[in-house]
Symmetry: C2
Subunit: 345 residues, 2 copies
């Protein structure tokens, strides 16, 4: 059943039917009702491709997921983010087009996407502090929203980001309030913007409370269980061992916990762990076991917001050049059984 068939059934022209279905004002309400009714009865769905060709709009958003060839890791955050974004797209009639590319091919892929014209805009994932994709997309004239920020980028661009500085500032303060002075930071790779900001928040909080930062207690790496384990083992080996760990990821935190086990240390008594991690959504949010401090479904929310922002930008784009907007989200601070006062306090 296509537009013409439907029009024939109704003894109307395809034009009128199209107008009725797309909410144009010049159709009489009675015809509109008739058309809508018939469309429903015949289960009519407009052919997406035809619509796209005619309007010149792809009605699709691209998500280009970089896949590092060095460490075969698909960032688990993507799943939740995309779930949120997908929700919004679905409601607005957009498709989500996903492309998985090796890190080094990104440039080529974006250009290709652009010239094939099969997306109206895209989301930039995992920005680095210096992010070449922003300049590229600007040059290509493809609307985009960055999930995160790129500190070293000078031009304007739209983004949605978690307030990483504040989250780590608060988490650090929380530990300081419990009497901890030797606090270790197990961070992500610090060329990534989020990791850079997390470190800033950590350092600022220490400085604000007059606690001396110890470079030996700051590690930056790949946010795996193994990383957490190794860094914790190393840091806990010396005489000046940390009394608390602040980690960037749930996996790292689990690694730290394993290290504690191996060393016969008790979590929450000898050593505390606080983690800011969007991955917590993998654990059942049963509420029965708040082991970690974490930002729960915040990633999904970020996905929704990114999507909304981008769609608004695209819709507006037809009329005026939209001006870039940023949205800063706060991470909830959830405190659980993994923390306690510093030993001797």
């Amino acid at each position: 059943m296509n537009l013409k068939d439907l029009a024939d059934q109704l003894n109307l022209s395809p034009t009128t039917v199209s107008r009725a279905l797309n909410g144009y004002p010049e159709v009489s309400e009675v015809t509109r009702a008739r058309v809508e009714d018939a469309a429903r009865r015949y289960n009519y769905r407009p052919n997406t491709q035809a619509k796209r060709l005619a309007t010149g709009r792809a009605m699709a958003i691209g998500h280009v997921i970089p896949i590092s060839t060095q460490h075969e890791i698909v960032n688990p955050v993507f799943a939740d983010f995309i779930a949120g974004a997908g929700e919004v797209y679905a409601r607005s009639g957009y498709d989500l087009l996903m492309t998985i590319v090796p890190d080094e091919d990104q440039d080529r892929i974006y250009r290709e996407i652009r010239s094939k014209r099969n997306v109206d805009g895209c989301i930039v994932h995992s920005p680095k502090m210096a992010e070449p994709r922003i300049g590229l997309l600007r040059e290509l004239g493809l609307p985009f929203v960055v999930h995160g920020r790129a500190t070293l980028e000078t031009g304007p661009y739209s983004w949605v980001d978690m307030n990483n500085i504040r989250a780590f500032h608060r988490a650090t303060e929380f530990l300081i309030d419990l009497g901890h002075r030797r606090i270790a930071l197990i961070n992500g790779i610090e060329t990534m913007d989020f990791a850079h900001r997390r470190r800033l928040g950590f350092e600022q909080a220490l400085a604000a409370r007059g606690v001396q930062a110890d470079p030996g207690l700051m590690a930056s790496g790949e946010m795996t269980e193994a990383q957490g384990y190794h860094e914790a083992m190393a840091m806990l080996a010396g005489p000046q061992r940390p009394t608390a760990f602040l980690t960037s990821s749930l996996l790292s935190a689990m690694g730290v916990r394993r290290a504690l086990g191996d060393l016969g240390l008790v979590l929450g008594r000898d050593v505390s762990i606080v983690t800011h991690d969007d991955d917590l959504s993998y654990l059942r949010n049963g509420g029965d076991e708040p082991i970690f401090t974490a930002t729960r479904s915040s990633v999904r929310d970020a996905g929704r917001r990114c999507a909304r922002l981008l769609l608004r930008q695209i819709e507006l784009g037809k009329a005026a050049v939209p001006k870039p907007v940023g949205e800063l989200l706060e991470a909830p601070l959830i405190v659980g059984a993994s923390t306690g006062p510093a030993p001797g306090v």
Copy 2:
């Protein structure tokens, strides 16, 4: 630059240019070379939408990801699977179209996808033992490949699956060989086909070696850290505690490990853990720390195979009705530091 422009530049008809670019045999090699050269120079890219409309092929594959509304979990396996599939699509010029839907809306979504005609086929994720989507897709005439199987489905269909029965059979045998007799199974939800099969493998191995299966040592649930922890705590509470755990997921295994810590039991000495988990890809495959038995990048491989199978089916579909095919993949057995002989052996 579109086809017509390019043709004008070359003093050829759009038809010839199209034929040259699409590898039709009737073009002379010299014209083809001229055309290809010009296309490259002008950076010509065919408009995807137009091509799709003209050919009636969407050049896209749909992935419908069910998102359970009850437990807010996005199965982390999807990320890796999709990375594999995406790789194949990219090479073949297909797009990957992702839709995230609440479990209960699936029916509607598939019908919509079908009538909007924006995918040529789709992948069915996470099949249950009784899987209604298979019948639906068959009825809709939309080509599909199932990642996994649906035991209770009687009709033919194409699938790619991990050999879950064998994986768990071998893992169980491995533990029996180490002298373990009281082996606990921490499984996924057993209406899911993979979980059902894993249990089968476990039970078959016990039976084959004359070990009595204990219903008290079999748990089925959501594969979270909390599940592993709770089930392990419960099972280890009694006097007849298990000496080994076989878990379906890395998270569950981590939960079990935490329980051991809380109870002062030593991993690999008092209790062994073996886990079959595709999630291990989240951990850096540094090789320095084989804590678990696992199927590593196997999920990504499954993604690739599913995609290839589906594309083949679609290409063939034009000519003949393709007959369903199944592919059974073996999971590697990786053994690490988390296992040891049964106490007293």
